[in-house]
């Protein structure tokens, strides 16, 4: 029985930290600062912050964009946040707009020979990691029973099979008890794994993002009306290169959150989600057997299928985007179960594995050769002329519809409060002496304060 057919009303936004490779400079302004300054110079794409922000972010560190998103420097990285998006296709288009902004800046500043940027999550040499955080609005009244939360945790763990971007080697903190000998043995065995981030995830639930990283971040910071919304903040996912993979990651997660709000999730409880995440990542071939809390084992693809089938029952036919997500999900599920080769160009880790293994064999290399790590990096290159991943991408589908449009660079989505933010920022161009911009409010000239508690509000207030 269907318990709901209305279109999904959910906000999604991504925060992407770009990896960068910079040739040594002889002093001067650090390169990432040059890029940030170019973006905000003379309000080219947005307004630079004048005030200190939360989490001790100083004035001038970043700013909001006319597309409703944000650029800033975080721990030495350029970080780009999409605006609030109500459609999955918009998430993909606005996420890609961040890449295009950086590429424009690099070209305009003549930095192409000095700097390269990557959509990835790891530094192979230092063991550092950086993220692609996902944000989903969730109704405050969503039934967060223990059963539902554990089912959500299971989905967020198992989805790694289609969200992983793949990586050469092993790294980061390894959760769970293991001796030095076991670690050496694992390092010898793990030549290629499914996920960039799995080795860095140590908890199932935790509130911080820089240590003890968790599958579900528990910080309650809705950036909207707290009586109506929560914000689910995820940091365990990889940065995707393939648009279809990003579309499925965000789309499937949104459908599962729809099921959660409808109290219609399948009951799936893993015995140890963190260990399952790591073990699955370290095994880039089926079958993926996972242990459940009742002591039995199950096939991970079949468990994922239970979530999809529940979405088929309750959500199929509600709108075109939902159906497109379900179609893609079903296709990928069949590939995971029967024919990994059919997922080349659709799922990042499978695509990367195929390409890198072909290169490895043709050159007579081992997986531990530094050249393989270099190819891993090249897969994620921001420049479409260099990116090995984009060269293999599937471009037929709703995930690619708006990728070439100039609009996402400077215009907001029309169906979220990003539209209001952008309009008020445009109004500032008429001579605001001071301003303060945040996700949920804007203050102009210390006298006009505009609250934006409803992320779906699109009416621009009068002055």
């Amino acid at each position: 029985m269907k318990v709901g057919r209305s279109a999904s009303r959910r906000i999604t936004g991504l925060e992407t930290e770009y990896g960068c490779l910079v040739q040594p400079s002889n002093g001067g302004i650090p390169l990432v600062q040059q890029i940030r300054d170019w973006i905000f110079d003379q309000q080219r794409y947005g307004w630079i912050d004048l005030h200190e922000r939360d989490w001790e972010e100083p004035p001038g560190n970043g700013g909001f964009l006319f597309n409703g998103g944000r650029v800033y420097i975080d721990m030495g990285h350029i970080e780009y946040c999409t605006p609030e998006c109500a459609r999955v296709a918009d998430v993909v288009a606005y996420d890609r707009a961040g890449d295009r902004l950086l590429l424009q800046a690099i070209k305009a500043l003549g930095l192409a020979t000095r700097a390269q940027f990557f959509r990835n999550n790891i530094d192979h040499r230092t063991g550092a990691t950086f993220g692609c955080h996902e944000n989903y609005s969730l109704l405050r009244k969503a039934p967060l029973s223990e059963e539902n939360v554990l089912s959500l945790l299971a989905f967020l763990t198992l989805r790694l099979l289609f969200t992983g971007s793949g990586r050469v080697g092993l790294g980061g903190h390894r959760p769970g008890p293991s001796s030095a000998g076991e670690q050496r043995e694992a390092k010898d065995r793990v030549e290629f794994q499914i996920s960039q981030r799995a080795d860095f995830i140590e908890n199932d639930f935790y509130e911080w993002v820089q240590h003890n990283r968790a599958i579900i971040n528990t910080r309650d910071e809705p950036l909207a009306d707290p009586l109506t919304y929560r914000r689910l903040h995820l940091l365990h996912g990889d940065t995707n290169v393939l648009p279809s993979a990003l579309y499925l990651k965000v789309g499937a997660t949104r459908l599962v959150l729809d099921l959660l709000e409808m109290d219609a999730l399948p009951r799936v409880v893993l015995a140890d989600a963190v260990r399952t995440l790591r073990d699955m990542s370290h095994q880039p071939s089926p079958p993926w057997r996972v242990r459940l809390v009742d002591g039995t084992e199950a096939d991970a693809v079949e468990l994922l299928s239970a979530f999809r089938r529940h979405a088929e029952i309750h959500l199929r036919g509600r709108d075109a985007e939902t159906d497109a997500i379900l179609d893609l999900w079903k296709r990928v599920e069949a590939g995971l179960a029967e024919d990994l080769g059919s997922l080349v160009g659709w799922v990042d880790w499978v695509t990367k594995y195929q390409l890198l293994d072909s290169f490895r064999v043709s050159e007579g290399l081992t997986w531990s050769d530094p050249w393989m790590e270099a190819q891993d990096l090249e897969y994620h290159h921001l420049d479409p002329e260099r990116s090995l991943g984009l060269a293999m991408a599937q471009w037929e589908g709703p995930w690619a519809a708006d990728l070439g449009s100039p609009a996402p660079l400077s215009e907001p989505p029309s169906d979220t409060r990003a539209k209001v933010r952008s309009a008020l920022m445009a109004r500032m161009s008429n001579g605001a002496a001071s301003y303060e911009i945040d996700w949920h409010f804007i203050r102009l000239d210390e006298q006009q304060l505009f609250h934006l508690p409803d992320p779906f509000e699109t009416r621009v207030p009068e002055s």
């Binding site: 490779l21 793990v190 036919g317 530094p370």
Partner: protein, 56 residues
């Protein structure tokens, strides 16, 4: 709406999968000679020269 009919899957292997270590995925090799030629031009030391802080 009835549930979508699933394609049959091969029977699951004995439990405890993964204990014998990862195996090579069965993926056909791509016909991507141009891409392989591009890959041969990638600086082998690129990853060594890649430096990041932890971020986030």
């Amino acid at each position: 709406m009835p549930e979508t009919i699933e394609r049959p899957r091969p029977p699951a292997p004995p439990s405890g999968g993964g204990s014998d270590g990862p195996r090579e995925p069965k993926v056909e090799k791509p016909n991507t000679e141009d891409l392989l030629n591009r890959m041969r031009k990638v600086d082998p030391d690129q990853a060594k020269r890649y430096r990041q802080r932890t971020g986030e």
